[in-house]
């Protein structure tokens, strides 16, 4: 019995060591990012360096972002607007689609589901050029890129119904039947029964929708090109890393990165429980 206990203690200690190592590896880049963002711009120049801890700390880089020399605030606002709008509309659409596909049996239902599944197998970038010119017909590129990006994300969001439908499938149908016998319409059931019961999945759907636009570089850069004030943060700031026009912007990139990461990170941590529920449910249902 004693040896068993000792063995257990030893294995626990090893476990802790491994976990601490993992945590260090996991956090290291973030620590680096934050440290670099506080590096003094005036004393150490803004380029990349091969040391971790800055020699002088300062808020130079953050000051630069809000100084009006760049449109950082505008880019941030654009991204936030896109993220909020996409979150609202995408969640509504996914709920509608999921309810229809989960609860109602109509002609062409399986055909529609299969068809969307097949559509999903085409790589998204394939259609960039076509989407660009489609949006241009509506005047939603360059100056109108923000609504344009919202429109494109929302328009195709119906296809991402899987997780939500899976959740609806687990709500017993008997509830619906009972309500219908009492004379409730489908719409009434949807609004007054199903939606209030689906809080976790709604939060999950909204969270996922909210996080995506922060990282949208590919399509956003394609739609907004040549119009600085309609860039989102990803488009504007990747230039600071990739283009030689912006040398010495590395620490500014780090500072901007920190500012972007914080709200998303906080929201995520706050709603982590729902995210886990959604991901797990989705993984098992497939």
């Amino acid at each position: 019995m004693k040896s068993y206990k000792r063995k257990r203690t030893v294995s626990n200690v090893i476990g802790y060591i491994v976990l601490i190592l993992i945590s260090i590896i996991w956090l290291f880049p973030f620590v680096g990012l934050v440290l670099q963002s506080f590096r003094s711009y005036s004393n150490e120049y803004g380029g990349m360096v091969d040391y971790l801890v800055p020699h002088t700390f300062s808020l130079d880089n953050y000051r630069f972002l809000f100084s009006g020399e760049t449109n950082f605030v505008k880019w941030y606002a654009n991204t936030l607007i896109i993220a909020v709008c996409v979150t609202i509309f995408q969640t509504i659409i996914i709920l509608c689609v999921s309810y229809a596909l989960s609860r109602m049996r109509f002609k062409g239902r399986t055909l529609l589901m299969r068809f969307w599944l097949i559509l999903g197998m085409f790589p998204g970038f394939l259609t960039m050029i076509c989407l660009y010119f489609l949006l241009k017909q509506f005047g939603l590129t360059q100056a109108g890129a923000v609504p344009g990006l919202i429109l494109v994300s929302v328009a195709s969001s119906g296809m991402g119904y899987y997780v939500c439908k899976g959740y609806f499938d687990t709500i017993p149908k008997a509830l619906d039947e009972a309500a219908r016998i009492d004379g409730a319409t489908r719409a009434r059931i949807f609004f007054t029964m199903i939606i209030p019961m689906s809080k976790p999945i709604i939060i999950y759907t909204a969270l996922v929708a909210f996080m995506a636009p922060w990282c949208d570089y590919v399509f956003a850069s394609y739609v907004a090109f040549g119009h600085d004030t309609s860039y989102n943060v990803a488009v504007a700031m990747t230039r600071w890393v990739w283009t030689n026009d912006y040398q010495g912007y590395f620490t500014r990139f780090c500072a901007g990165g920190v500012l972007i990461a914080i709200p998303v990170l906080l929201l995520f941590m706050f709603l982590q429980k729902y995210y886990v529920e959604g991901v797990t449910g989705g993984a098992v249902k497939g």
Binding site: Y45, G47, T141, G226, T243, Q247
Partner: protein
């Protein structure tokens, strides 16, 4: 409906002013006709839109006839031309946006006749400009700056208008020959040169590098000091320092449409092997780093870079800042070669327009932004070396340390002509093959030759 109305009004207004401007006896009657037709057009416009369109067309026709009749008179009165209204988009690199805005303000005050136009300047880097222009010419800028290596591609895609005749003469007369040839495709001048400093030379840290005259010496000094030596060998632009230096050649002939007709290359030769071996030799040094952006470099001992980074490098080296022409290198055959390279240029282009008046404004703007005064002002503001001959002779430009190193290097360089877009990507592949160790300094001569033969045949394949 409103749009059509406006256009009717506009065309009548244009016709009216033009005719009012000429006023000669011969044109009088025609002018009256046009005027009355135009009046009729304006009146009817409100009532029957359809008809108004027709009448306006008629008015335009008449106006056109008249214009031809009294072409001379019109030319005399050109200053009174109503250029109408419009929006002109300008793309330049981010660090000259403010500068360009100031210059455009000057331009506007000098040209009150363009008061109907608004100008917006957007930060689009010279590298991205061409790609974006080609993706959608219509949404692209009306006047934009780009690096010369993109010019043929832009001409093929229909994103560059020929330089207006009188401007073309001025451009050819006032800028250095290399700049003019860089802006020329086939026999036609397609762009306005604005800088002539797209060449590279050596920046070094005096405390690290004692003698910047040989490549071997520089590398040895950097290795000894544990510092990095930056040279972007996977760029088709920097790579040529070795190839051209060793005596290999690579140029293309183009026709007027921007198509490549012939490739003249001697890369697959002993000279080419010497150059590639030297690149491999350099890449094997532990102090070697591939790169040419001073702002992104770390622990720099020496870097091959251009004037645009002069400020950055000064910050990096402080009191130890120094620059020199490119070094010589000792080839595998024991001979000494002076590193060569491209002398390149930044150009300003005008997009083809569907409206003559707007085109005229764009032409004027591009000519202004590439003029002697503005080039000099640009040098003073951001340190870009001018392509204008007079500006080059000015005292402040001559006193610039980096620019004089570049000038010294310039005698060994070859003005960069037209190269197909694929060349740059192919050169990156060649450089990457060396950096990644597919080709090393220990490879056999046959391996070097094979790589260069591949390179040369592919290069030749780009010309039809």
């Amino acid at each position: 409906m409103k749009k059509k109305l406006v256009s009717v009004m506009l065309s009548t207004a244009v016709a009216a002013t033009m005719l009012a401007g000429c006023g000669g006896s011969g044109a009088d009657s025609a002018a009256d006709t046009a005027q009355s037709v135009a009046d009729a057009a304006t009146e009817t416009a409100d009532a029957v839109e359809e008809a108004a369109g027709d009448v306006a067309d008629a008015a335009e026709d008449v106006a056109e006839d008249v214009t031809e009749d009294v072409a001379d008179a019109v030319e005399e009165a050109a200053d009174d031309t109503d250029y109408g209204t419009g929006e002109i988009k300008v793309w330049v690199a981010d660090n000259v946006v403010d500068f360009t805005n100031e210059q455009i303000a000057t331009f506007q005050s000098e040209h009150p006749e363009f008061s109907g136009y608004t100008f917006t300047v957007e930060p689009v880097g010279e590298g991205d400009a061409a790609g974006n222009m080609i993706t959608d010419v219509e949404a692209g800028a009306d006047v934009y700056a780009f690096a010369q290596d993109q010019i043929a591609r832009l001409v093929t895609a229909g994103a560059l208008e020929e330089v207006e005749e009188s401007n073309a003469e001025a451009v050819k007369a006032e800028n250095d020959a290399g700049a003019v040839s860089a802006a020329t495709v086939g026999g036609t001048l397609y762009a306005y040169p604005i800088t002539s400093d797209n060449g590279y030379f050596l920046y070094y840290d005096k405390s690290v590098v004692s003698d910047p005259s040989t490549l071997e010496g520089i590398v040895a000094d950097c290795e000894a000091a544990g510092k990095n030596f930056y040279c972007e060998i996977n760029s088709g632009w920097y790579q040529t320092a070795f190839f051209f230096g060793a005596g290999a050649e690579l140029t293309y002939d183009t026709d007027d449409e921007g198509n490549f007709t012939k490739c003249n290359s001697t890369y697959a030769s002993d000279a080419g092997v010497v150059a590639l071996k030297e690149i491999a030799e350099l890449a094997s040094s532990k102090s070697f780093q591939n790169g040419s952006a001073a702002g992104e470099a770390t622990n720099v001992g020496a870097i091959i870079d251009g004037t645009w980074d002069a400020g950055t490098v000064k910050d990096l080296f402080g009191d130890n800042y120094a620059c020199a022409k490119l070094p010589t290198f000792e080839g595998a055959d024991g001979k000494s070669y002076q590193m060569s390279g491209f002398g390149g240029f930044k150009l300003l282009g005008v997009k083809p327009q569907q409206d003559d008046n707007k085109l005229a404004v764009c032409d004027a703007l591009a000519a202004f932004l590439s003029s002697e005064d503005v080039q000099l002002a640009r040098y003073n503001a951001v340190g870009w070396g001018p392509s204008n001959l007079n500006a080059q002779q000015s005292d402040e430009v001559k006193a610039d340390e980096a620019l004089s190193a570049l000038a010294e290097q310039l005698q060994y360089t070859i003005p960069q002509g037209q190269y197909p877009g694929e060349y740059w990507s192919l050169a990156t592949s060649l450089g990457d093959s060396v950096i990644s160790g597919e080709i090393t300094k220990d490879s056999s001569d046959d391996d070097f030759m094979k790589a260069l033969e591949d390179f040369q045949t592919t290069c030749e394949g780009y010309a039809q």
